[in-house]
Point group: C2
Chain length 462, copies 2
C-alpha cells in the first residue's frame, strides 16, 4: 500500500486522534493547567510508540518535559529531526470563542470549505506537529521510511522554551541530524504554498508603575498626585514616534537593512492589501513609515503592548486614583538584534524616562533570537520539491513575523538549518479565540511530509 | 439630661448601630449587590423611625430609593434639611484590605489613637450621615430639638445621583428648608477643623478602542496592524501636555481664575508638602505647572484614568495583539465648567484624534456640576460657631477636590447653600482599601451637629 492510500484509508482516525490531543488543555503559561500539560506529554509519548518509534522517553526538565523518540533504520542513511511543541497559548478571552476552546469541532468556513478543526492549539502547534507523527506512522506501516527520524516535542514553546537550550546542549549527539523539520508557521495560501525563511525574535517584558502607596480618591487627590495609569500611557506612547519608529536608544543599531533588490523580491509575494484589511475589518493598516505591510512583518522589528491593566475595571464607574498600573510589552526583533541586549536597552530606557513621581519595575518574561534560514540547502530543495508535488505549485520563500526562538539555537548548536515547513494559514487565528486548522491542510501536510522524506533521501544520495 | 450626657451614655450603642449598617454591602455600582442596597435603605428607614422621625418613607425611583423622614416641631421654627447617601463605592481590590470591607472592625492608628472603624463606607458616607440621625435622636430624647429637621438619604451618590434631580424637582415643597447639611467631606485635621466651601464637578466616560475584528498573533501581525492598547495609550497620553495641561480644545474656557489675593488665602491653609508626600510614600507630587498642591486639588480641573484594561492580563506571557482596549476616564471640573459641555468636548476630541486604523466608542457614565458655597451665610456662621465650640478652634473655609454633584442642584432648585459639614480626614482612604473613620470624629461629629442646631436656631431668631 502506498503512503497516499494508507492516508486515505486512515484519515478519519488521524483526525479523531488529533481531536483527543486537542481536548487536553495544555496551557503552559497558567499554573492551573500543569497536570494537563504533563498529560499532553504522555499523549505524545504514546502516539510515538504506537507509530513505531523506539527509545521513546519523557525527558524531565525543571519545567515541562521534552518528549523524545526515534527510528534509526540504518545509520548510513540521512537523519531527519522533527521539532514541535505540545503546549498551547492560554485560551482567554473565553467569551469570544464560538465553541469551547478545548472541545474541538469541525466547521466549514469560506476559506476552508472542506472544514476546519476549531480548538486552541489546532494549528499552533498540535495539529502541525502531529502531522509528522502520522506521516511517520504511514511510512512505517507501508514499509516506505527512507530516512532515519528523530522526534523532539517540547512543552514550553509558548513560555519561552526555557529548558530547551540545556537539553539540546546536553544531547547534541542524540539529536544529530542532517535536517530539522519544524511545522509551526503558515503558508501564504492553499493556492500559494510558501516556506518561511525568516522569523523574528522576541523580548517580552512586564512593567509595573507605582504611584502612591494605596489607591486614592480621584477627587481628593486627582491633579496633585501622579496617576500611574496616565503615567504608564505616557511612557508607552513615548516608546514610538509619529512614524511608528521605536525611540529606545540603540534599538535599531543591529538591524540588518536589506538591499533594494532583496526588498523588491520580498514584495513580489502575492499580497492584497484590500483583502488583508477586509479580513481584519480595518479601514487602515498602521506601521513603520517607509515600509510595506510585508516588510513591516518580515524584516522590521516592532513593539506591542500585549496586555494592560490598572484601577477599576468592573461594571459602572469608580473614581479611584490607583496605586499601580501594569503592562505586558513585547518587542519582535530581526537579525542581528540580540534579545538580551534589547532587553537591557528597554529596561534602562523605561526606567530612565519614568518621572520622579512614580517608581517603575521591569520584569523580563522571556526572549528569543531572530533567524534567517537558507533557501538553497538540500533540505530546502527537498521541501520545495515535496510541496510542488502535493500542491502542484513551486513554493516561494517568505519571512514571517512570528518567533520560534529555538530556530537560532538549532542553527548554532546542531549546525543545520531547520526547514520551517508550515501548512497553516495566517487566518487560522493563532493565539486568538476560534483558532482553527483546515482539515485539508492537515491531510496535505501529512502527505507532503512523507514526500519530503523521499526527496530528501534522493537528494542526499546524489 | 444634656445632649452631651446622652451621647456619653449611648456611645457604644451608637457605634454598634453604625457597625450594623456597615455590614450591608450596599455597592450601588455593581448589580450583584442590588438587594443589599435596598436593605441599606430599609435600615435607614428603621433608624429614622426609632430616632423619632415622622412621615418616614422609602421613596422609590427608577434606580435605588431615597429615604425621607422629618420632624416638624413648629412650622414657625427654622428647618434643617440633612442630605446623605447610604450607598458605597465598590470594595475592590479586595486583596488589599487588611480586614474584610464589610466586616467592620475597630483598630488604633497613628492618626486615630482612640481607634478608627475600618469598613467600606465608614467615612463615605455611612459613618457621616448616620451622625445626623444620632444627633437627632439625642436632641429628641433630651427634649432639646430647637429646629425642624428633614432627612433625605439617597442610594445612588456613588453612581451619579441619576434620580435625585427629579425627586428634588417633584418635592420642592416637602424639601423646603432654611439650610442644608451635608457631611460627606473632610476637615484638614482634628487640630485644624475646616469647612468645605468648594467642590469640583465631574464628567465620567468610558472609551473603547477597536483595531481588528479579532485578537491577533502579535508575531504574525505586530507592526503592521494598529494595536488598540498602544493607540489607547497614545490617545490618553495626548490628553495632557508636558505641563499637565489638558489639551481638549475649549476645556479651560469657562474655568474661573481666582485673583492673586484669593489664591494667597487658599494657600494659607495649614499644609506640609513633605508630610503629604511621606504619607503617600511618593518622592514627588505631579500636577499642573504653575499651581500649588492645594490649588491643583481645589481650583483646577483635572483628568484621570480610573481604570484601563485590554489584552492578556493573566499569569505569564501571551503574545496577543488584542482586538480591543478600554479605559474609564474621569475629569474633575471647577466653576463654571459645565459637565454636559465638557462631556461633548471630550467625546468630539477623543473621536477626532483617533487614527483611521481603529474605531473608537465613547460612553458617558455620569457627571455633576462643580460648586462654590458661601462662607458668610447664617448656616455657615452656625457651623463655624458649632465647630469652634467642640474643637476649641475656629474652622477655616477650604476647597476640596471631590465631587458632590447634588450641591449645585440644591443651590439651584432649593435656593439655599448647603453647609459641607464633614468630619472625616483625607487619610480616611475613601474609595480605597482600608477605608476608615475615626471613632472620635464620629462622636465629635454628633456633638457638633447638635451644637449647630442650637446656634442656627439662635442666629435665625435674631
Amino acid at each position: 500500500m502506498s503512503v497516499a492510500a494508507y492516508l486515505e484509508k486512515n484519515k478519519d482516525r488521524f483526525l479523531q486522534e488529533l481531536f483527543n490531543l486537542l481536548r487536553i488543555p495544555s496551557v503552559s503559561a497558567d499554573p492551573k493547567f500543569k497536570g494537563d500539560v504533563v498529560a499532553a506529554a504522555n499523549f505524545v509519548k504514546n502516539s510515538l510508540e504506537k507509530a513505531g518509534a523506539d527509545r521513546v522517553e519523557i525527558c524531565e526538565t525543571p519545567g515541562f518535559p521534552i518528549v523524545y523518540g526515534e527510528k534509526i533504520i540504518d545509520p548510513k542513511l540521512p537523519t531527519v529531526l522533527v521539532y514541535g511543541h505540545y503546549d498551547v497559548q492560554p485560551a482567554d478571552p473565553y467569551e469570544l470563542w464560538d465553541s469551547p476552546p478545548f472541545e474541538p469541532v469541525l466547521k466549514k468556513t469560506a476559506i476552508h470549505p472542506e472544514g476546519a478543526i476549531f480548538a486552541r492549539g489546532a494549528a499552533d502547534d498540535k495539529g502541525q506537529f502531529y502531522m509528522h507523527i502520522k506521516a511517520f506512522e504511514a511510512m512505517m506501516a507501508t514499509g516506505d521510511l527512507p530516512c532515519n527520524v528523530k522526534f523532539m516535542i517540547e512543552g514550553e514553546e509558548e513560555i519561552g522554551s526555557d529548558n530547551l537550550d540545556k537539553f539540546v546542549l546536553a544531547n547534541k549527539e542524540r539529536l544529530k541530524a542532517d535536517v530539522i523539520l519544524i511545522s509551526d508557521t503558515h503558508m501564504i495560501g492553499m493556492d500559494n504554498p510558501s516556506i518561511t525563511v525568516g522569523l523574528r525574535g522576541m523580548a517580552y517584558m512586564e512593567v509595573e508603575v507605582t504611584g502612591s502607596n494605596r489607591d486614592l480618591h480621584s477627587g481628593t487627590y486627582g491633579g496633585a498626585v501622579a496617576n500611574p495609569i496616565n503615567v504608564l500611557c505616557q511612557l508607552i506612547a513615548s516608546l514610538k514616534d509619529e512614524n511608528e519608529y521605536i525611540t529606545i536608544p540603540g534599538f535599531y543599531e543591529k538591524v540588518q537593512e536589506l538591499s533594494a533588490a532583496q526588498r523588491q523580491r520580498l514584495n513580489e509575494a502575492p499580497f492584497s492589501l484590500e483583502d488583508y484589511k477586509s479580513k481584519l475589518d480595518i479601514k487602515e493598516v498602521q506601521g513603520e513609515k517607509g515600509y510595506s505591510t510585508i516588510e513591516r512583518i518580515g524584516i522590521r522589528p516592532t513593539l506591542d503592548v500585549n496586555g494592560i491593566w490598572g484601577g477599576y475595571t468592573g461594571e459602572g464607574a469608580k473614581t479611584v486614583l490607583p496605586s499601580k498600573a501594569f503592562a505586558k510589552i513585547s518587542m519582535r526583533l530581526v537579525p542581528d538584534q540580540d534579545w538580551h541586549e534589547i532587553t537591557t536597552l528597554f529596561e534602562n530606557h523605561f526606567k530612565a524616562i519614568a518621572p520622579a513621581s512614580v517608581t517603575v519595575k521591569v520584569k523580563v518574561h522571556h526572549g528569543g533570537a531572530p533567524a534567517v534560514v537558507s533557501d538553497s540547502s538540500l533540505g530546502y530543495q527537498a521541501a520545495e520539491a515535496a510541496m510542488e508535488e502535493t500542491f502542484g505549485k513551486r513554493p516561494i520563500p517568505t519571512r514571517e513575523g512570528g518567533s520560534i526562538p529555538i530556530v537560532a539555537l538549532f542553527q548554532k548548536e546542531l549546525g543545520s538549518d531547520p526547514i520551517l515547513f508550515g501548512f497553516g494559514l495566517d487566518t487560522d487565528a493563532l493565539h486568538s479565540p476560534n483558532e482553527h486548522y483546515g482539515v485539508k491542510n492537515y491531510l496535505i501536510g501529512i502527505e507532503t511530509i512523507a514526500s519530503f522524506f523521499r526527496h530528501f533521501s534522493t537528494l542526499q544520495g546524489k
